[in-house]
């Protein structure tokens, strides 16, 4: 029975000419439960929006529909993530996987499920530098840049502003630690001095001990590499209360509306970096997200990245001319990178059409996607500064 099923799938994939009204499945492997469960529904919805756009256009492989299949990676439990991925790959027979969300789960799934089975994975949010060097045989892609790059950009900005002595506090996980190392290394290379580089744990009620240690280091400015509704906010709040620091240097995890509402008035002059840039597609993405009912019109962590990941899977499928796993992998780079006609959010149908005509496209999307040769985005960053209790973009790096 199983073999028969397998044989039919293979035959269908082989037959080349795809019949109308066929559906293929794409796995949506996200941490629906676990530490980032508040972020993942909007991320999954953004990716599904892109897949729906491709399906509804009727252009995809002559009318093929994409059916998203959700599965829970739990973010922290690598064993459960692998089981969920195994289900997507061997039971649901998805042609590609959107995910996983957290870096640990992504690494486990890539090494143990996706690569052995030859299934493409596109993660919108795994930013660990370690993922650059895993032996993924070209099957792992990500639309969020590695943290290593952000640290370098931020260090350059700090140095350019003439700041030579900083204290660093980071949230104690792979994100915070990786970022603090890449920032620290780059900053010292540029001739800056790091008075103290200390971690903080999220979810504590009181950060006065951490702030006292940072203050005692004698640095004038504080680099906060954490989360805006977690320890990072607590550190800034305490620093302001104690008068320890008045200017803060922030990474992407710290930049968002909620912190401005709470503390924006006292943070004037603070600055930081945020992935993104002069995105040609930013406006279009806002419109598409609004029409698609994405929370906060798509403005939020990794939503644009998720849409792009979904769009790339659909476009690669079209470029491959079939929903074959290996062929999708071969075409991922081609549809994402120049040369070709630029495709913005909401233009997936146009992209599919061009591909069907045998033309080349360059998917730009919501976040300026361009893959490096290891299948990740180099990332452009916005330099933002706090003015009148708002983050304002100053420059793009």
């Amino acid at each position: 029975m199983k073999k028969l099923l397998l044989a039919t799938t293979v035959m269908a994939a082989l037959s080349g000419t795809v019949m109308a009204e066929e559906t293929v499945k794409v796995g949506i492997l996200q941490g629906f439960t676990g530490p980032i469960e508040s972020l993942t529904p909007a991320m999954a919805a953004s990716a599904e929006l892109a897949l729906k756009e491709a399906s509804d256009s009727g252009e995809l492989l002559g009318g093929t529909k994409i059916e998203p299949v959700r599965a829970d990676s739990t973010c922290v439990d690598a064993a459960a993530a692998q089981t969920a991925a195994e289900r997507l790959v061997t039971d649901e027979k998805v042609v590609a996987i959107f995910g996983a969300a957290c870096s640990g789960a992504s690494t486990a799934v890539a090494n143990n499920v996706a690569v052995p089975n030859g299934v493409v994975m596109v993660s919108p949010s795994s930013t660990s530098p370690a993922l650059t060097t895993i032996d993924d045989k070209g099957f792992f892609f990500r639309t969020a840049p590695s943290d290593a790059r952000q640290g370098e950009v931020l260090a350059q900005i700090v140095k350019d502003r003439g700041i030579d002595n900083v204290a660093i506090t980071y949230t104690n996980n792979d994100y915070g630690k990786g970022l603090s190392e890449s920032f620290g290394g780059a900053y010292e290379k540029l001739g800056g001095k790091i008075a103290i580089n200390a971690s903080h744990e999220d979810g504590k009620a009181d950060y006065s001990a951490e702030v006292a240690a940072l203050d005692a280091s004698g640095a004038d400015d504080l680099v906060v590499l954490g989360y805006l509704d977690q320890g990072g906010k607590g550190i800034i709040q305490t620093s302001l209360d104690n008068g320890a620091f008045s200017r803060f240097i922030l990474a992407d995890g710290m930049i968002g509306e909620s912190i401005m509402e709470a503390l924006g008035k006292d943070m004037t002059g603070s600055f930081g970096t945020l992935p993104g840039g002069e995105n040609e597609g930013a406006e279009q993405w806002a419109e598409v997200a609004k029409a698609g009912g994405i929370e906060n019109d798509g403005d939020g962590p990794y939503r644009g990245e998720s849409y792009d990941a979904g769009a790339l899977i659909a476009l690669a499928m079209q470029a491959a001319g079939s929903a074959d796993r290996a062929k999708i992998q071969e075409k991922m780079m081609e549809v994402a990178n120049a040369p070709g006609e630029k495709i913005l959010p909401g233009e997936i149908a146009k992209g599919l059409k061009l591909l069907a005509e045998g033309k080349d496209i360059d998917y730009v999307g919501a976040t300026n996607v361009e893959f490096t040769d290891v299948g990740e985005v180099p990332g452009s960053y916005k330099e933002v500064e706090v003015k009148d209790a708002k983050f304002e973009t100053v420059k793009v790096h």
Binding site: M1, K2, K3, L4, L6, A7, T9, V10, M11, A13, L14, F32, T33, P41, R70, A71, D72, V76, D77, A78, A79, A80, Q82, T83, A84, E86, R87, V89, T90, D91, S103, G104, T107, A108, N111, N112, V115, P116, N117, G118, S128, P129, A130, T133, I134, D135, K137, A148, N172, N173, D174, G176, K177, G178, E181, S182, G185, S199
Partner: protein
């Protein structure tokens, strides 16, 4: 089973119950194989086995001796550490940068401890007893920091984005299962010496705290574990799928097995079909290898547990559990047995922890959380039936199965239940969106149901009257 029969008086019934329960469990896994895929069924089976071993470890402590250990996570983490230290490739640069100083620091630590013990013994009952010990520890501490701090800094500075730690020994990862047991046993011995004198509830809090300390150390001592930067790509004890997919013998083997399905196809179709089959089979083959290794460990541990529980030692331990004072009055060494049990149980958890890291192929200290590594294991023991080895194994299998299958089954249930509704009806969409969260809900439900209808677990403890 009706209320009239008390399980205690019917050991025969219990055996039947165990056989039935395991048949049902096996049936569930086979069902997954047929309905979903064999590869998935084997993935679940492998994790079931690991869970069962972990549950056996807890059962040794709680079921045999009534030791309330809620620090299982820490011992599982130490098992994971063993997998890294045994199997990761050594980082030569880091060793030359600070490795030898680190060894010196370790020697200093050992020397300090020995010295403190020596002074403690020599000065016992004399003046300056406490002061002497205190001074030894103080001097030792500063001497260690003098060597340790620069060593840490030097090691962590070695290419921090890729290594920044000493690495392991580069030995086959399978040795780590033994080393993991030793690590966990060593830690348990220290913990037990300090905390086992405590009453059950206090011991629970102490172990909870200690497990958090162990995980905090694993997360922060980057020179040893890379901390939250994770160690990935640990070598496997079994072949890699990609290597199998390229090896002649494996392809030939798959070809022969599927000769019937491949017959009568055109050359191109046949090649593609064969490739798909080879990919599929390679995954199953690798998982079968793991399943073989894990089952072997499970059988050995289970056999030892059964023999131990059935021996005079087992009776003594249960006597201590049921009435410490009476057992003490009979001349049994209550504290000694407790320590022994605590060490043994933790060692078994350590084995399972090392096996889990082996299966994942990565060590991620940031992801150890008590819900998954302590309380889920407790649920396994309680649902399975504490004090009964087979019960712990059944609990491990069943709870892990529910833990991962609740989601797809939840989807299926919601889909079936709402199939009469409109495709886009808000209620249906809402229910579909909540299907993922069924897992936690179902876990609570199972625990409640079992506690209500079979309070001593699915396979209650069998008390033999000797």
């Amino acid at each position: 089973m009706s209320q009239a029969h008390t399980p205690r008086s019917k050991p025969h019934n219990n055996t039947l119950r165990a056989i039935l329960a395991f048949l049902v469990m096996g049936g569930l896994l086979v069902l997954v194989g047929y309905v979903q895929s064999w590869s998935l069924a084997l993935t679940i089976l492998n994790l079931c086995i690991i869970s069962a071993i972990m549950a056996l470890g807890v059962n040794i402590q709680w079921g045999y001796a009534g030791i309330l250990n809620v620090g299982i996570m820490g011992f599982a983490g130490l098992g994971g550490l063993a997998a890294v230290l045994v199997s990761a490739e050594p980082v030569a640069e880091a060793w030359s940068a600070g490795g030898w100083f680190m060894l010196l620091a370790l020697l200093l630590l050992v020397a300090t401890v020995l010295m403190a013990v020596f002074v403690h013994r020599r000065l016992k009952g004399r003046r300056f007893h406490h002061f002497g010990v205190f001074m030894v520890v103080l001097i030792g501490y500063f001497a260690i920091r003098l060597v340790y701090d620069p060593a840490v800094e030097a090691i962590e500075a070695v290419d921090p984005s890729k290594t920044g730690y000493l690495g392991g020994l580069g030995l086959p990862v399978i040795f780590s299962w033994v080393v993991g047991a030793l690590f966990a046993a060593g830690a348990a011995w220290v913990v037990g010496k300090v905390a086992l004198g405590l009453r059950a509830d206090y011991l629970a809090i102490a172990t909870l705290g200690i497990s958090e300390i162990i995980i905090a150390v694993l997360r922060n001592e980057d020179w040893l574990t890379r901390g939250v930067k994770n160690v990935t790509g640990l070598p496997r004890p079994v072949p890699y799928e990609l290597n199998l997919q390229q090896s002649e013998w494996f392809i030939g083997w798959v070809e022969r097995l599927n000769a019937a399905a491949l017959e009568g196809l055109g050359a191109a179709e046949r090649a593609d079909m064969l490739q798909a089959l080879v990919i599929d089979s390679s995954g199953i083959f690798v998982k079968l290898c793991y399943a073989g290794l894990f089952s072997l460990v499970l059988l050995i541990v289970l056999l030892l547990c059964v023999l131990a529980l059935d021996s005079p030692w087992g009776r003594m331990v249960r006597a201590i559990r049921d009435n410490e004072t009476a057992a003490g009055a009979m001349g049994k060494d209550v504290k000694g047995r407790h320590l022994q049990i605590f060490v043994l149980g933790s060692a078994v958890v350590g084995i399972a922890g090392a096996m889990l890291t082996t299966l994942d192929g990565q060590f991620t200290p940031g992801t150890y959380n008590p819900l998954r590594f302590t309380f889920l294991i407790w649920v396994m023991v309680i649902v399975g039936g504490s004090g009964n080895n087979l019960g712990a194994v059944l609990g491990g299998f069943l709870i892990w199965f529910i833990w991962v299958e609740a989601e797809p089954v939840g989807f299926w249930l919601v889909e079936t239940a709402t199939s009469w509704m409109d495709e886009n009806s808000p209620l249906r969409l809402h229910l579909m969106d909540s299907a993922q969260y069924m897992r936690v809900f179902v876990m609570g439900l199972v625990l409640l149901l079992v506690m209500r209808f079979s309070p001593r677990g699915l396979l209650p403890e069998q008390t033999k009257l000797h």
